[in-house]
Amino acid sequence: MTYLRKSWYALPNLLRFVVRRLFVGALLCLGITFVSFALTQVVPGDPVSANLGDRAASDPEIVAAFRARYGLDQPIPQQYALYLERLVHGDLGESQQTHRPVTTDLSQYLPATIELASAAMILALVIGISLGVLAAIARDRWPDQIIRVISLAGVSVPTFWLALVTFYVFFFKLGIAPGVGRLNPGGKAPPSITNMFTIDALLAGQWATFGIALSHIVLPAAVLAIYTIGSITRFTRAAMLESLSQDYVRAARAKGLPTRTVILRHALRPALAAIVTVAGMAFGRMLSGTVLVESVFSWPGIGQYAYKSALALDLRAIMGVSLVVAVIYILVNMAVDLIYAFIDPRIRLG
């Protein structure tokens, strides 16, 4: 025991941190599978009705075949045990509505959402941080007030409504934005590597496709980003005000450094640490919150998939989505902590 303990502490901090977080994360995932499994069990309603045609659902033979195929004929604890056993082998079961392995479904829909959410995150970070910094510099003067109203409006506007309005205005009225979907109708997707079209197009050097994919992502990403822009602006402002009031910023100014350097290098850096945390949480929220935007822009992502799965009581798909969203949430938060430690040398992981 002591030996184990000793060798544990002998590991490098970073490794120890990652191992510990992964372990905790795995436990959390186990909890997630349990909760999602339990949820799908408590919900009244039989996947048979939801997934078979009317005629088929009243044919006992077909129903039996259906149940057998999805393992629904087994006792409930056994179903869960079987699920876990398959999970260990990376098998999330088969979706009842798409008749495909859930992993296949996820590998198709998840990248679309990640692409969208990442684009939104990048927008939110760039705009949010810039506005936040501006507001902090102009504290209590009119630019600050204006930015404040903008950012509060950002966190106040209902996304689903904004999606409709912007689509109407930019696509229909002005014709600036391209239509729905990830590519133009019938457009060839770039060779699939990550399944994120912008990245795949870049990897394949297909510039035209890249341009199209990018133009399609801008509007939904902007809509998705609005809320996060608002919150990041507020956080950046607060964090900047705090770091601007620090002695080390005064010291930097006293050294005669130009204002830009002082703000970007000295004041923004510590603020970034706080922002990264907020951004990490926002990313997690975006993943499961995309459904509203996805449906308006016909974005074939995980939000719509989750919504449909839940509608059809597609047990394995529901569990798969819950699990994968949780895994991403955990990984993102771990990444955030790593970035945090990278930004701030005082933080010692472990």
Partner: protein, 329 residues
């Protein structure tokens, strides 16, 4: 001590700050101050008396919304205190500043080397390597062990005393003529403080540095300063050579401050506290701001703001009564 050619002269400096309710309050109310070349001048006073603000005004680093008046002469140049831009030229190059708390005055996320050289590179327009060399030299001068390795480390890896040395070194790499040290030892332990005081003295000698030493610790003042200014409620109440002011204070406030300090052996004098507490900014009493706490206050103290007047060569007090003129400490 002989008056030297003043390097910095502040004339009639006033500073007012916006208050929460939208008004303004005077924090510094007409300060004259001069520092000769190679001279260490101490600026003493209780918390809130305006010491830091006065120093920041020299660098044009006052908080947003502050309004200033008066003139600043530096090395023959004449700057209006109200025009922050002029002072900006001095910052880092001619005038450097060290802050009270070394724990917070160094950037926690930038390496020591980076912090030592960034302004050097900026001001002198030299390369990184050259800047590094200068910085390492300076670290050596302030007795940081193994300066080359220290450059790559981060502030939190140093103790408080070491950090203050690094902060001082960082302020001095550009070869400024004046160092403003705002309570450089308050946050440090006595044994460490001794080292820093010795270091400042040594640097003054070696680099022909002028130092404005801000402190409320009269002991530190006594160890280092050539001349002393004592501030109260935004005004200088007493000025003179260190030995004169500390050994024979003439302003009741200076005297009260000294009496409250435990020094000498316990039989020398009992600890006597000044009654009350220093007034907050915006609530300075009329007349001599010190009069409510002054044992000797007379009617005139309540009526007029006393001017700083010369009472001996190089010695001035702002007290119309001068009750201590004959009383030895």
């Amino acid at each position: 001590m002989a008056e030297r050619q003043p390097l910095l002269a502040i004339e009639g400096l006033t500073i007012s700050l916006p208050t929460a309710d939208g008004g303004r309050a005077s924090a510094v109310r007409g300060v004259d101050l001069s520092i000769g070349e190679g001279e260490i001048v101490g600026l003493a006073g209780e918390s809130g008396s305006g010491k830091t603000l006065s120093a920041l005004a020299v660098l044009g680093l006052l908080p947003g919304g502050a309004k200033t008046g008066g003139m600043i002469h530096f090395a023959g140049r004449e700057l209006s205190a109200a025009d922050g831009r002029a002072q900006a030229e001095l910052r880092g190059k001619d005038v450097a500043m060290v802050f009270q708390d070394p724990m917070t005055a160094l950037h926690p996320m930038l390496s020591v080397g980076r912090q030592m050289t960034e302004h050097l590179v900026f001001h002198r327009k030299i390369g990184r390597a050259e800047a590094d060399k200068i910085a390492i030299d300076m670290l050596e001068r302030v007795r940081i062990p193994n300066p080359r390795a220290a450059m790559a480390r981060f502030p939190h890896q140093f103790s408080g005393g070491m950090r203050q040395r690094i902060a001082i070194a960082s302020a001095l790499v550009t070869g400024p003529k004046l160092l403003i040290a705002d309570e450089p030892t308050t946050a440090l332990d006595v044994t460490v403080q001794a080292g820093i005081l010795r270091l400042i003295e040594q640097l003054r000698r070696e680099l022909k540095l002028s130092v404005l030493l801000i402190t409320h610790d009269l002991g530190v003042m006594s160890a280092l300063a050539d001349r002393v200014y004592v501030m109260y409620a935004g005004r200088v109440v007493e000025r003179g050579a260190r030995a004169e002011v500390l050994a024979r204070p003439r302003h009741p406030y200076t005297r009260g401050l000294l009496d409250a300090l435990p020094h000498g052996s316990p039989s020398d004098h009992p600890l006597t506290a000044l009654p009350g507490s220093p007034p907050a900014i915006g609530r300075f009493p009329a007349g001599c701001a010190f009069h409510p706490r002054c044992r000797f206050a007379e009617d005139i103290c309540r009526a007029d703001i006393p001017e700083l007047r010369d009472v001996q060569p190089g010695r001035a007090i702002a007290c119309p009564v001068d009750p201590l003129s004959a009383v030895p400490a």
